[in-house]
């Protein structure tokens, strides 16, 4: 219960005693960390799938939200408020995502007599409406891109962007470079918006080539708005931020001041309280910028601001929620808070670049990062955690803070390259490619950076790298076997007095198979003679190739072998030597291509299907995947029903081929 402790002028000061975080993973951990420092008790909520995650254990109290899907758990205002009351919390922090920008939830929390760690519901509502927000911003003198009348667009206006009013995440967005394409684009965008958001309203505005996404961190309190500098979040993949930094690189002081002033004006215009972010589109050609939207919550990328400004933004949120004032920097002119050094954040996602970035599930059999000064890792998972596809695929935010941007980039790349992440595929290689790209290092950041510099390509590791890692894996497995022998313990691995053929070890790698042919006996060698082994144990193998020694750290589990070396990480699947025929998959089986849930099943057992005919639809992370019949035949089995959660490789259905 909120307890008034002091009344000063009109402000009522309360002290939060116990805070519930209506969220999960790294942001819950992040908020708990500030609470511990401030002596505030903590309450976690968790869906069933998250019961084993570190944030649940970190909290003083935890409340289960039965079920797995967000709709049953983290998106249930009623359950969350009940949880807060049951656990004796007196405040609720919504984190980001889920209900963090849901005014109704904020009201429900407040109505229950709990403190809401966020802006007023009115501010949330106002900024949630694009039309209303734009109007208010225009009135406040915040620069805006003008809406163009589709009928009046001329060649001079090109290129233009067609956007859904209710949109987000890039859906219903189209760039038009040829006037003739405009009517079609408007129609298509409208149709897409209608189906996605139930609102077909679209508008047209100028399209900024190589635009940058620059944002300003603000925290409003009873005495006004404090600006905590700017960030650049331009590097995105499919509208998902990948790398963020503070301060935004390469801006003139004039532009920076103007951005901060515009953000302050935007926040002040609505009497904003709490932490928020004002996002702008910036044209790098002339540093003109325009208001995009205001996020009325803490951003994922807030750590970069915290590092360069030496501020705890969660603490500021809590202060505002308690009715006290934001920490202000004495002696500094508010608009030009000087950043200390440069901070860079990379978002590590559990997604497989080789499978169209599908979200990945699995057990993180290793998850650690080199410990270096200036590095901060905000992670929602730890070694041994299970990653599911029910929620956002972000595993961790890896942040580097250094005196200059170049040093921060180097530090971040070093930490990412040295991390051991086993069990699920990640976007690490993409992050490293970005951090090592000349253009990025030069500060050339824009939302189309990845496409423009081909950074999404080149995802196949080099064959030599795979071959070397697989060889090391085979040797480590052999050493593992030797170490667990019950007879002939000291006899050299794979020794033969008459050699008939090399030993072979099979691994699965990505979609394919890697065969390692090796010789044992007095020492290990690859059968082709190109690689030898200098040192071998079940966990470390030093491979010699072309006169160079490669030290490989090898982690063996029942199903996988992970090899980390200076060349990078290679994840291999162990191939069983023998398969019990009873376990073999019937031909014509439809296997789940990725983990996800079953959205629809369009056939019934006994139905005749043609080759390529849709059998069922899976959804994972907002992406739908249609599973089709591999050949014409009769559906003999349907093993799933709508709503089922399936793992990659599960047999969904069997289509028996018709005999001719």
């Amino acid at each position: 219960m909120v307890e008034p402790v002091e009344t000063c002028q009109e402000r009522e000061i309360v002290t939060i005693q116990r805070l519930l975080v209506a969220n999960r993973g790294e942001i819950a951990s992040r908020v708990f960390a500030s609470c511990r420092r401030l002596g505030i008790g903590t309450v976690a909520v968790h869906a069933d799938a998250d019961a084993g995650l570190p944030y649940v254990a970190e909290a003083d109290l935890a409340v289960r939200l039965p079920g797995d899907s967000p709709a049953d758990t983290y998106l249930r205002p009623d359950l969350l408020v009940e949880a807060a009351l049951a656990a004796g919390a007196d405040a609720v922090h919504p984190g980001y995502g889920f209900l963090s920008e849901n005014a109704a939830f904020a009201r429900k929390v407040i109505d229950a007599g709990l403190a809401w760690v966020g802006p007023d519901p009115e501010s949330i509502e106002l900024m949630g409406s694009k039309v209303e927000a734009k109007k208010r911003m225009a009135d406040a003198g915040v620069p805006l891109l003008a809406d163009l009348d589709p009928a009046a667009v001329s060649d001079a206006d090109l290129p233009v962007l067609v956007k859904a009013s209710a949109g987000g995440g890039g859906r219903g967005m189209r760039v038009v470079r040829d006037l003739g394409d405009l009517p079609g684009a408007v129609e298509a965008a409208s149709a897409e918006a209608l189906s996605a958001f139930g609102d077909g309203t679209v508008f047209v505005e100028r399209f900024v080539e190589h635009g940058r996404h620059v944002e300003v961190q603000v925290v409003g309190d009873a005495e006004g708005v404090v600006v905590f500098g700017d960030r650049d979040c331009s590097v995105q993949r499919r509208h998902q931020k990948v790398v963020e930094e503070a301060p935004a690189p390469g801006l003139t002081d004039t532009t920076r001041r103007a951005l901060h002033a515009a953000a302050r004006a935007a926040a002040e215009a609505i009497g904003y309280r709490g932490a928020g972010t004002v996002e702008f589109l910036l044209d790098p050609a002339d540093e003109q910028f325009w208001f995009l939207e205001m996020n009325t919550r803490l951003q994922v990328e807030h750590p970069v601001t915290e590092l360069v400004h030496g501020v705890d933004l969660v603490e500021q949120q809590l202060r505002v929620a308690e009715g006290s004032l934001v920490q202000r920097h004495a002696g500094e002119v508010p608009e030009v808070l000087t950043p200390r050094g440069h901070a860079m954040e990379a978002r590590l996602y559990a997604e497989d670049p080789s499978r169209d970035w599908q979200p990945q599930s699995g057990v993180l059999t290793a998850f650690d990062f080199p410990v270096l000064p200036g590095v901060r890792v905000d992670a929602g998972y730890a070694e041994g955690s299970t990653v599911t596809t029910h929620y956002d695929a972000m595993l961790a935010k890896v942040v580097a803070h250094a005196p200059t941007r170049d040093e921060a980039v180097r530090l971040l790349a070093s930490v990412l390259a040295g991390a051991r992440i086993h069990g699920v595929a990640t976007n690490r290689d993409l992050l490293l490619r970005v951090l090592r790209a000349e253009a990025f290092r030069a500060g050339d950041v824009s939302t189309d950076l990845l496409d423009r510099h081909g950074l999404l390509l080149g995802q196949e590791p080099e064959r030599d790298h795979v071959a070397l890692s697989a060889f090391a894996a085979a040797v480590a497995l052999a050493e593992h076997g030797a170490a667990t022998r019950v007879v002939q313990r000291g006899i050299p691995v794979g020794w033969r007095n008459v050699v008939s053929s090399p030993h072979t070890t099979l691994f699965g790698h990505r979609g394919g198979e890697v065969v390692v042919a090796w010789l044992g006996g007095a020492g290990y060698a690859s059968a082709d003679g190109t690689m030898t082994v200098v040192e071998a144990s079940p966990t470390t193998v030093v491979v010699g190739r072309h006169g160079v020694r490669h030290r490989c750290a090898v982690a063996v589990t029942e199903r996988s072998v992970d090899v980390d070396s200076a060349l990078g990480h290679i994840a291999l699947r162990r191939t069983p030597r023998f398969v019990d025929p009873a376990d073999q998959v019937a031909s014509g089986s439809l296997l789940a291509p990725m983990p996800g849930s079953v959205v629809s099943v369009s056939v019934t057992p006994g139905a005749e299907v043609g080759a390529g005919q849709p059998v069922l639809v899976l959804e994972a992370m907002k992406m739908q995947h249609t599973v089709t019949a591999p050949h014409a035949g009769v559906v003999s089995e349907i093993n799933v029903s709508v709503g089922d959660q399936v793992a990659a490789g599960d047999v969904l259905a069997v289509v028996e081929e018709e005999d001719r």
Binding site: L477, R485, V487, Q488, V498, V579
Partner: protein, 523 residues
Amino acid sequence: MSNRAAMLEKLAALDAEHAKAVAGGGEKYVERHRSRGKLTARERIELLVDEGSAFLELSPLAGWGSDFAVGASVVTGIGVVEGVECMVIANDPTVRGGASNPWTLKKVQRAAQIARENRLPSINLVESGGADLPTQKEIFIPGGALFRGLTQASAARTPTIALVFGNSTAGGAYVPGMSDYVVMVKEQAKVFLGGPPLVKMATGEESDDESLGGAEMHARTSGLADYLAVDEPDAIRLGRRIVARLNWRKAVAAPAAAYAEPDHDPDELLDLIPEDLKEPFDPREVIARLCDGVGSGNEIAFDEFKPLYGPSLVTGWAKVHGRQIGILANAQGVLFSEESQKAAQFIQLANQIDVPLLFLHNTTGYMVGKEYEQGGIIKHGAMMINAVSNSTVPHLSIMMGASYGAGNYGMCGRAYDPRFLFTWPSAKSAVMGPAQLAGVLSIVARQAAEAKGQPYDDEGDAQMRAFVEQSVEEQSLPFFLSGMVYDDGVIDPRDTRTVLGICLSVIENAPIEGTDRFGVFRM
């Protein structure tokens, strides 16, 4: 030529002979076999044994120098299956359909002997067309012992397993028939006493392969097959599961403590062994490259026994892969009375404390001559032979160099049934050296001619000596002797430590018990 170069040349020749065995029936037949979706005998073995484990192939040169293919159309050896040391016997169907010839029989009987003496479960990988009919007279009657051996092995509580991949007909049908566990591969195994033509001739009945002896029939109807495998890898998988459930316990526990590698690099053995066997070498140098080095629990690598007495034979205690052994090694070639008595005593000592013995051969035999005969060399040699014959601790023999005359017996040659006997490419073994043998023949012939008062044909004598010398030389060489299955294989000296390590582990499947019962020692 340096010792090393000479030895490397011999090893290259050995590799070439092994390659012949590995090649089986040759490219054409191997290809045809594979095109039927079948694995070769060695591929089956590679899949059967534990990943990364060692496989000690036995008698790979059997049949060398005969009319039959090197290897004798069968592969035998000791492999580790599910952590159990097993005798593996695999027919090579690419060599004349895997038909057995007299050398096949010898090789398989030797494998069975090793399995029996060391108490190993055995796994037969069966695919054989039966007996080589032109040589049936040498196979049929003695070959019956194989089936008797199988059931006796079973009775001795060493399980027998048959994985049937193909033909196993007529007499061959008794291999699965006498085995404890039988796996048959679907649509491949064919197990019957008489095929359709024979049945037709015998009873007039019309039949076919599948109904007479198919895997499905045996699994579902006759019950001869305990398991039906869908394919070859599945048969091997099932074979491994059978072994995994044998509840196998070795009679002797393996040493728990760690041990040091030899104090000197085994690679140096190549420099050590002289090409000319007349040149003696110090066996202590060999021992230092075979046995565990100094370490905790092994403060002295080789504790020599009676070093000042009978110096032509080195005796003493050492460890190999952590296991204590007694070693008898020839130092100066000739065995005198002192050496014989020293050996007899040392063999009794090993029996007193249940320690296996290793014999390192390089002997030209017992000393001859008036002085020695009068000194009782026969009595003393007999003491040594008595001791080695009646000793019950396991014996291992390595032919390093010469092994001539009764020295071969005293040092536990093939006829004295060492558990294992391996040969280095540098070795030679015969009743005596080729030149001596030819010379003896010449002297005897000359004396005979003189007795009859006939003139002696010196030219003919020279030819005879050259011929005898050459043929004895050939017959005393390792490939020839290995071809006769007079050893268990010719090995690279550098592999000796590993081979001994495997053998010492294998012998621990049977109890190691010495004896105090010897024949009457003639004093």
